[in-house]
Subunit: 437 residues, 2 copies
């Protein structure tokens, strides 16, 4: 299952390793954040459960193997290789930073160690799954910070890159601190709280707005959220006010949110609907939320869609999955890439975080502070159940709250100090001398 | 299946329509491109087969229904509504523009007509699936145009927003004219030609590059593509040249592609490897491809990843799914949204394309030129098999080739004329008077 959900070269490399009698060499690959995206002071790790699922279920069906056998690239592959693929299972180890952990440039997110083919094939899937969910969690936390305690609800599935990306994005946004999502499947599958209001089509399906509002209220009771802007938001607010309770709240989806929210608040208050909330949605991002909050707009909840679901100002993460160590029948080699503009750092690593800085060290070192990478899979088996989604969300809230204030601002500030340990620096120099010297 | 893969409000609206005895009203919804993304002169429609699959399989499992029953929003829903959901199937009609058709701002991509609940629920899925694949196909065609006949291969799964988005993106990029993809599953599932080269880890797993290259060649034969930049691209080229044939080609993945490709071409030619190709990859987009082509870089194939797989300069499409008509037990109503900054156009539509312009007309009008929207599903059944992927790709190539030259440039030019028919303009005025007057 999922064996072909990878770049072809991972599989041609598998064949080459196998045919070159290298299949029993043990490799360590690291997923590393090369650079922070623009406008980010940190990223928030997310997506680990999907990597675990992937690794524990990675295999090849006979149809998939037949497909590969007919490709020119595999013309010289032996029957033994196809037998190997047929029996393929992940038997290695996975070390990873828990979901909800803030990370900085140069830091590893996870390490996969195992027979070289088993560690090579996951590259494509791991990069995509972790990077995407990390981007969304990282974007979500910015809107949540900007909202200063008001609710932020993820509304973006319709703009996500496939509906399924909407489901995973909703989950990641919840880790980042969103209060919930409009994505129903994310509720069913992951337990993310789901929220919904009303559609323009509902209002449009009645001859007049008042009738539409009355009927909605009758079915939805105290879950009623009236959508005000089908024709005219203020007129809509007067209609909602006239109908009175039950009314959870109203939603404005276009227009000048500051001025509208103030006028609507007055209309609702004067009708005695002080408990009814105002939600705003439509082209919102963290900057617009901050402006509205700073201006004192009486908005209780923000629905954030497009900008969040696509991480629009940073739709990709500069990350690498590189081999850092190779154990060739007991002989340890450290590996790195030293091309002109893309350099990788050899050796399996650990990150130690204390109150003043992060130290990237070699994995066997002892360090001060919290060791961020933890064993998740050993010898192909899950070490212990992963933290729940709620635990990941709490970890995120706690970790973000403890970051230096400059890192929590929307603007890019002084970076958090991340240094290499002396042992790691020595390894870098030694490896470079061996390879290039 | 997939019943919950939608925004919650689609389902609360379903309950409200049902409980208000509106379930037998027949609605027409249109998916419309509101605005072209920045830097685009047109978009290329893609993703239709996934909408067809979705509609033909849309249903709710008992577990999904139990989940909904426990949500506060459905507290007042009747047993009859849950029975309705249990039997739910799409019985309506789908009209759509074929994949590979260029479209412009204001134009409909598809129309769904059926009982109002059946037409409402698909909104979220349709917006996401069509918009994403359309964005990728539209981005791909730009790189292909810039490459002026040289191959462009889609390499972006690792940056796609989930691995599955990588598969669908690879398919869309192929429609847009890419020669192939690195995504193996896109090959297996859709027949997209797959390509692969070699990994840095392969080179790094040997004590020296020469040995790595030799072993690769022995397994891959004339599919061999040597990756040159693990340590030094020119030194890599000399190693590849020394080994000679068989060698499909080499890949450079970092550095100054213009200067490197010239030097490498010379190295290969001097070794008699005139047939071996040079492929470049790494942070490429249509602008860099154009610059390299214009400068005469001897590059035969471009691997495009991040920018293509995320449509990085336009990661979302401004599109709407709005109710345009409602048939209430035989009485026809035309519906539109007239809020401050978001206006929709009432009435079911057709687009007629001739050599001079597009005319958006009412669906029952006769027009000049090609009628773009065609029946795909009628009464819940597929009318005829959809065009194959190859046919969609050919349609795209043919349609793009026939566009005005200004529209095929990378820069935004004079827009293609898109006008409303007189009948449609009259309907817009009449509807507005009825609603607002």
């Amino acid at each position: 299952m999922n064996g072909l959900l990878t770049d072809l070269y991972e599989l041609t490399m598998a064949a080459c390793y196998f045919e070159t009698a290298k299949a029993d060499e043990k490799a360590t690959f690291e997923f590393t954040i090369r650079q922070l995206p623009p406008h980010r002071n940190f990223v928030l790790a997310a997506g680990l459960p999907h990597i675990v699922d992937y690794l524990l279920n990675l295999s090849f069906t006979s149809e998939e193997i037949d497909y590969l056998r007919n490709l020119a690239q595999f013309r010289n592959a032996s029957t033994a290789f196809w037998d190997y693929l047929r029996r393929f299972r992940f038997t290695g180890d996975l070390f990873a930073v828990p979901e909800g952990t803030p990370l900085f440039a140069g830091e590893p997110v996870l390490t996969i160690r195992g027979p070289i083919i088993e560690a090579q094939i996951p590259e494509t899937y791991v990069l995509s799954a972790i990077a995407f969910q990390t981007l969304i969690a990282s974007k979500a936390v910015r809107s949540v910070e900007a909202a200063g305690g008001r609710d932020v609800v993820e509304f973006g599935t319709r703009r996500a890159h496939t509906p399924e990306a909407g489901v995973l994005g909703a989950r990641a946004a919840y880790i980042g601190g969103c209060s919930g999502t409009s994505n129903t499947l994310a509720g069913f599958r992951y337990g993310v709280p789901v929220m919904g209001t009303a559609a323009h089509s509902w209002v449009m399906s009645f001859p007049c707005e008042m009738e539409a509002f009355r009927r909605l209220q009758r079915v939805l009771g105290d879950s009623t959220v009236q959508l005000l802007d089908t024709y005219d938001s203020l007129e809509g607010a007067r209609h909602a006010a006239k109908l009175g309770s039950p009314l959870w709240g109203v939603r404005i989806d276009s227009g000048d949110f500051l001025s509208l929210s103030r006028q609507i608040r007055t209309i609702l208050d004067e009708a005695g609907l002080r408990e009814s909330k105002i939600m705003a949605s439509g082209d919102l991002d963290e900057y617009r939320i901050r402006d509205l909050v700073n201006a004192g707009a009486p908005i209780d909840a923000f629905g954030v869609g497009t900008q969040l679901a696509t991480s629009a100002d940073a739709p990709s993460l500069s990350a690498t999955y590189k081999m850092v160590e190779l154990d060739i029948r007991g002989i340890q080699r450290y590996t790195a890439k030293y091309s002109e503009d893309k350099i990788s750092v050899p050796g399996s690593k650990q990150v130690f975080r204390d109150v003043a800085r992060d130290v990237i060290a070699r994995s066997a070192e002892c360090g001060k502070g919290e060791a961020l990478l933890r064993p998740v899979i050993l010898g192909g088996s899950l070490v212990e159940p992963l933290p729940t989604l709620e635990q990941a969300r709490e970890r995120a809230a706690r970790s973000v709250a403890s970051l230096a204030p400059a890192l929590r601002q929307l603007e890019v500030g002084e970076p958090w100090p991340v240094i290499y340990s002396r042992e790691l620096r020595e390894l870098v120099d030694r490896t470079r001398r061996n390879l290039v010297g």
